[in-house]
């Protein structure tokens, strides 16, 4: 199976990273019958808590054992306690108590991930960047898509995700603060491209494959102008060679939808919780474009 490993990154918070990962992942599994693994790398554990009830999540990741924390802790301690089959959560438990979306698997995060950054410099590069790929590379092969939900920073955990990914996806909110952040992010990834090159196969280079706009509102000029400024900025970065020619701004833009926010409290992706909502419709259309982009149908 040829899997696509995609890192969802933005060091600006509140841009809809987790919503994008969870809902694209769920839609890929439900409407495209893809086998999907979500890897939660954020100590806030938002993807995990979106898809798991808090009591079940707490029990599952107790002491960080069955979580992504264990991967990094093993690397720091020189041990191999992480067991993928024990850590992975298969499907989403609905209100019936039984699972749905069995093609959607989750590798949950634990709050203990916060401790990783304090100690990770005990390791040397490139070992730091290679942690995820070494631990999960073999497992990734059994999935069509592996979606890595990164924390809102560009520290070691995120760098390890970028190292193991075929491409980076940047969730984006159309405003100036996001624009300035995006430009720095693009430059940072271009730097990583040079830094990682000796350790990666030639065909795999860190790059931004797509930007996804969320929290969009169609009224007035505000968001249209902000998206135009993003497009202008992308063109400028392409000319400078910072951004790849293949990087695209995916449409449709995800509109603000209260049902998506509500679905977090139900611990379900919006396609299961409110399939008729505009949020579910936007994610369904976006996922369609996503599949076209990464499977080069069109």
């Amino acid at each position: 199976m040829s899997s696509k490993v995609l890192a969802f990154i933005n060091f600006k918070g509140g841009v809809g990273k987790t919503a994008t990962v969870v809902n694209i992942g769920a839609t890929l599994a439900k409407l495209h019958e893809k086998k999907v693994l979500l890897v939660d790398l954020d100590p806030q554990s938002n993807s995990s808590l979106w898809l798991m009830r808090p009591d079940r999540w707490r029990e599952h990741v107790a002491r960080g054992r069955r979580s992504t924390f264990q991967i990094f802790d093993d690397a720091l301690q020189g041990k191999s306690r992480f067991n993928f089959d024990e850590a992975v959560v298969k499907g989403v438990v609905t209100w019936t108590g039984f699972t749905d979306l069995t093609r959607l698997h989750l590798l949950p995060a634990a709050v203990e991930l916060l401790r990783v950054e304090e100690r990770i410099h005990e390791l040397r590069a490139p070992a730091i960047f290679q942690i995820l790929e070494s631990a999960l590379g073999v497992q990734f092969k059994q999935y069509d898509y592996v979606l890595l939900d990164c924390p809102p920073n560009l520290y070691s955990t995120t760098k390890a995700a970028i190292f193991s990914a075929d491409s980076c996806i940047v969730p984006y909110v159309p405003d100036y603060l996001s624009l300035s952040g995006f430009q720095v992010l693009a430059e940072q990834i271009a730097e990583m491209r040079e830094k990682f090159a000796p350790y990666l196969p030639a065909r795999r280079k860190p790059n931004i494959g797509a930007l996804i706009v969320s929290h969009y509102r169609q009224t007035g000029n505000v968001f249209r102008l902000a998206v135009n400024e993003l497009e202008l900025s992308m063109a400028a970065l392409r000319e400078e060679g910072v951004l790849s020619d293949h990087a695209v701004l995916l449409q449709p833009y995800i509109r603000h939808c209260v049902r998506v926010a509500e679905s977090t409290s139900e611990h379900l992706p919006v396609i299961l919780y409110a399939p008729g909502s505009i949020g579910a419709q936007d994610y369904a259309d976006l996922t369609q474009r996503f599949v076209e982009l990464f499977e080069s149908k069109k």
Partner: protein, 211 residues
């Protein structure tokens, strides 16, 4: 409990029941056993149907017909086209709900659920295809930034030679909303204002990160 837990529970119960079956008796136990047998039969039937539909592509077809994409993009003409292409048949229903039912029935009879699911996936993909904004979109965007970089006098000279349709095209491509009633002067004012902002924002945000 999940399906795996349920399977374990049923196996354990089955084993225990098999060992003790000769010793079991009583009205209450018999009544509950009868109820369990009825529920098990219903569950087994549902399970069979689910597994068969998953195998044949019917489950995906059903998911697609109930999906958010269907709510937004599915129409009677699309179903008619689909049925003609997949089964070479004519769809008679004119109302969407009835057309969906008829479509599923005819596809099911022909055993072409896989093809129908593929047809819908492709149709939804076509429906979300977004126009790129025209061949000259990139040019008009660059032009917009350049206009924003001009001094007031230079801008007045440049913009003075543009026709109203040309100004409208620049505004549309660059995200400026206006109405049919928006006059030339107002449009020029909007272009000036937002072109300057774009030029400033795109350039100012280029903070060198290699520090």
């Amino acid at each position: 409990m999940n399906y795996s837990d349920l399977a374990t529970k049923l196996s354990q119960l089955g084993e225990r029941l098999a060992k003790q079956s000769d010793r079991l008796e009583g009205e209450e136990l018999g009544r509950l056993a009868a109820k369990l047998a009825t529920h098990l039969a219903r569950f087994e039937e549902q399970l069979e149907s689910f597994l068969a539909s998953r195998k044949s592509g019917e489950l995906l077809l059903e998911s697609l017909l109930r999906s958010p994409s269907s709510k937004r993009h599915l129409t009677v003409p699309l179903l008619k086209r689909g049925l003609r292409e997949i089964c070479a048949k004519r769809l008679k229903s004119e109302e969407l709900g009835a057309a969906k039912r008829e479509f599923v029935e005819l596809v099911h009879t022909a055993g072409k659920q896989d093809q129908a699911a593929e047809f819908l996936q492709n149709a939804f993909a076509e429906a979300v295809h977004v126009e790129s904004g025209g061949k000259d979109k990139g040019l008009l965007q660059r032009e917009f930034v350049r206009l924003g970089q001009l001094l007031d006098d230079e801008f007045a000279v440049e913009i003075g030679s543009r026709t109203l349709p040309e100004l409208r095209r620049v505004a549309t491509v660059n995200g400026i909303r206006f109405t049919a009633k928006t006059n030339r002067q107002r449009l020029i004012m909007l272009i000036r204002r937002y072109a300057q902002r774009a030029a400033f924002n795109v350039a100012a945000a280029r903070v060198p990160s290699r520090i």
